[in-house]
Symmetry: C2
Subunit: 199 residues, 2 copies
């Protein structure tokens, strides 16, 4: 009973992350209601993404004519400290703190298998090459900023073992009670960490 | 730090229903990761919606060359029973039950003000005209299928008063315990309704 165009829209949109069939249907009606100009603007916004590339060093996205992203080509950033993050959005969140001024490697979303995918292994391999080209042929520090979850921990220890000869120091983000969190509701593991790493 | 194209995408998508800035950002990265072919398919799916029109009788959406939607032009449907729904998705849900074979009027989303918007009043006006063109100049039944919420109830009683001379009978959907629901957790109002309307 739905027109073909709406069905096609739902088919395409229901596959996108956290949009199911229901939300795709609602979106379709909303977009139809928005009129032709809004439909064209939305389509243009999507086609604009064709200009986006992945940085060949850190794999974060960028656009424009330069060979690498703005962070990788920024002479004011520390070149021998690396942070390995899972997702682009993790990098954005870290950058917002303005507390980190080193290089990055975006690994891509971890699978639940506990093993790195081939493209993720290739990215780690590239990081090794970048480190070997440093004056000291060694990084000062590699921060493995994966989520403190079972899979994050598992992958972090695999990566740590793999990179131990490539850096003076390998670290992870400190665990503890989040700002605004309550001791009463903190789990044992978090509380142990926050006791051991008192500030 | 985000490329202009990504910012533009987020700006456009964060305004859509139940997509906030966070989900728009995640969507942008997912779509970039999907590659050029997927971007083009998605843009095409959106532009396809330009062909969608609103039926001038019931205001549900349709495409194609006919003057009204398939339900309004279906000779096998009952022409003197009308159901007033709020949203297109409500109509779809009702149609899925295959228990209703009359006409519809899609009112459009109700505001929290408790008053009908001008375009909603115009749609009710159009329904009156359609009813006046019936052989009896009166509907057999008008079912006001608005949500059983405070605003739904308020609007339903406004509409009922407005249409009382246009139909032999004006009804609303029956209230009761939903299938799979538990008596223990039913509120008093629902339970009173389900007692009064025993099946």
């Amino acid at each position: 009973m739905l027109p073909e165009e709406i069905k096609k829209f739902i088919e395409v949109f229901e596959k996108l992350p956290s949009i199911g069939p229901r939300q795709a249907t609602r979106l379709a009606f909303k977009m139809v209601g928005g009129g032709v100009a809004q439909l064209e603007e939305t389509a243009r916004a999507i086609l604009g993404l064709k200009k986006i590339k992945n940085c060949p060093r850190c794999f974060f996205i960028y656009s424009g004519q330069s060979l690498t992203c703005e962070r990788c080509s920024d002479v004011n950033r520390v070149k021998d400290v690396f942070m390995i993050v899972e997702k682009e959005t993790d990098l954005i969140t870290i950058e917002r703190t303005r507390k980190y001024n080193g290089m990055y490697l975006v690994l891509g979303e971890l699978t639940k298998s506990g093993n790195l995918e081939i493209h993720q292994k290739l990215r780690i391999g590239l990081l090794k090459k970048i480190i070997e080209e440093l004056p000291d042929k060694r990084a000062k520090e590699i921060i493995i900023a994966l989520n403190p979850t079972t899979y994050g921990d598992l992958n972090a220890s695999i990566i740590e073992r793999d990179l131990k000869d490539y850096s003076q120091k390998i670290s992870r983000l400190g665990r503890g009670i989040p700002t605004g969190g309550e001791i009463e509701f903190a789990d044992e593991d978090t509380l142990s960490h926050s006791l051991q790493r008192r500030e």
